[in-house]
């Protein structure tokens, strides 16, 4: 595939494609098991964004042996295994290197049936846009590094990041979708831009419908925004228009780099409600229809 897809794709035979992806991240929460689970969910997500299913994984471990005890490392790996088991896949091995900064993730091999292959460049005017997880995770995990996020919000954030996009992908395969991607480091706007530009359309987002964790706005106001989110704004800021008046802190939510974010799906209007209900039934209770696809305008993304 010649454009920027979520994962590498190879044709195995008629009807079945092999998808391959890898990702790893530094710790985002304090609990080692949850960190492992989140890192694995984050790695598996690209497979789901393409409508696929994970088959086989390898652990990728950069181990900070000076600061992370062996039993903590074990918990991290157990957290990863927990997510992989839920995905119905196996861990076939892995590789560890010594590194002063802990990182963990997976290399994932998956398969996707050609009829389910969901690319990120096929949104059509009239489609509705669905986001399956709330935003704000980049700001919250940055604040958490210096204990400035509340425990209650961090528990919610860990649960959201630790949730697999498997259920949302299953719903998408069942109901059908035109296009999908997962929201990770480029934030909602960065990934939406990729999809809108690739599809030659504009996305009109209903600002008030976009789910986010409110504490993230307060923490943004205190300067706890990751550098990646500022990079996203620099990279994509010109392609967006905020028609609705919003505080600068609130705007940063839509540029915020996500870890293990939700799927962002474009589907025909008559399917949207059914798909949303199924996604929620499959575990992503915060999913919302956040906007619609319109004919290409000057800006690729409008927040109204």
């Amino acid at each position: 595939m010649e454009h920027s897809e979520d994962a590498g794709v190879f044709r195995l035979n008629d009807g079945t494609l092999l998808v391959q992806t890898a990702d790893f991240i530094t710790p985002v929460v304090d609990d080692p098991f949850m960190y492992g689970r989140i890192a694995a969910a984050n790695s598996l997500s690209d497979i789901y964004a393409m409508g696929g299913k994970a088959v086989c994984c390898l652990n990728l471990v950069c181990y900070d042996s000076c600061n992370i005890e062996a039993r903590e490392l074990r918990s991290i790996l157990m957290g990863g295994l927990d997510a992989v088991k839920e995905a119905g896949a196996v861990i076939a091995g892995g590789h560890t290197v010594d590194d002063p900064e802990m990182k963990f993730g997976l290399s994932v091999t998956g398969i996707v049936e050609e009829k389910h292959l969901t690319r990120n460049n096929n949104a059509k005017p009239g489609d509705r846009l669905i986001l399956t997880k709330p935003l704000g995770m980049g700001i919250l995990t940055t604040a958490n590094k210096v204990d400035m996020a509340s425990e209650k919000t961090m528990e919610t954030a860990a649960r959201i990041m630790g949730m697999l996009n498997q259920g949302a992908a299953a719903a998408m395969n069942e109901t059908g979708a035109h296009s999908a991607t997962d929201i990770t480091g480029f934030g909602l706007i960065g990934h939406a831009l990729e999809m809108a530009r690739g599809s030659g359309v504009t996305f009109r987002i209903r600002t008030d419908a976009v789910p986010f964790l409110p504490e993230a706005v307060d923490l943004a106001g205190m300067g706890l925004i990751p550098a990646g989110s500022y990079n996203n704004r620099r990279f994509a800021g010109e392609t967006v228009e905020f028609e609705k008046e919003l505080s600068d802190d609130r705007k940063m939510i839509y540029f915020d780099a996500q870890t293990s974010g939700g799927l962002f799906i474009s589907t025909a209007p008559e399917n949207a409600r059914t798909l949303l209900e199924k996604i929620r039934e499959n575990g992503a209770g915060d999913a919302e229809i956040i906007g619609e696809v319109v004919e290409r305008e000057e800006k690729f993304i409008l927040f109204s």
Binding site: S150, E151, M222, I225, Y230
Partner: protein, 201 residues
Amino acid sequence: MSQVVDAKGLACPQPVILAKKALSGIEEGIITVIVDSEASRENVRRFAESQGCTVTAEEKDGEFYLEIAKGYTCAVPGQTGAPARQTGKKRAVFIQSDSIGPDEELGKQLMKGFLENMVELEDSELPSKMIFVNRGVFITCFWDETIEKLDELTKRGVDIFSCGACLNHFGISGKLKIGEVGNAFDSVQTLVQHENTITLG
């Protein structure tokens, strides 16, 4: 003598934390924070402004020098047109018991009456935060009628926090019905920042 904080080469949010430490060490004065990324420049500026400080930034050879003025209340030249926003938004209410005064039975009625009557206040008169500590957390867990009124307040922009350690102490962490669990940082910051704190109970 102005203090200089060198935060070059540090990733977010470390420069903010260094600025925070330096600012909390002075009552009034100017500190200069040096950073070398745009993200850190913006973050330090956001933090300082959220603490009510005035910030000016200057770039020299890819490094940013942020001058942060704390505590001076007079207007900065050139910004005299800024409106003085004196609303109740800088008021905090600190509730440290579920009763007001020595008689407990009467005290609980007084507390209930006081909190429930807050919905009658104008938006501009409402506090920005309410913090429940010690036996105050029983209110946010069990006083259903009061909780309904507090819920109206949260919808009007009042942030409600209950002390996490207090909830744990009474073994009622899972019972919280309104607002968020606050940590010690939030509470201290609120009490220090707000011009006017009303203590009840």
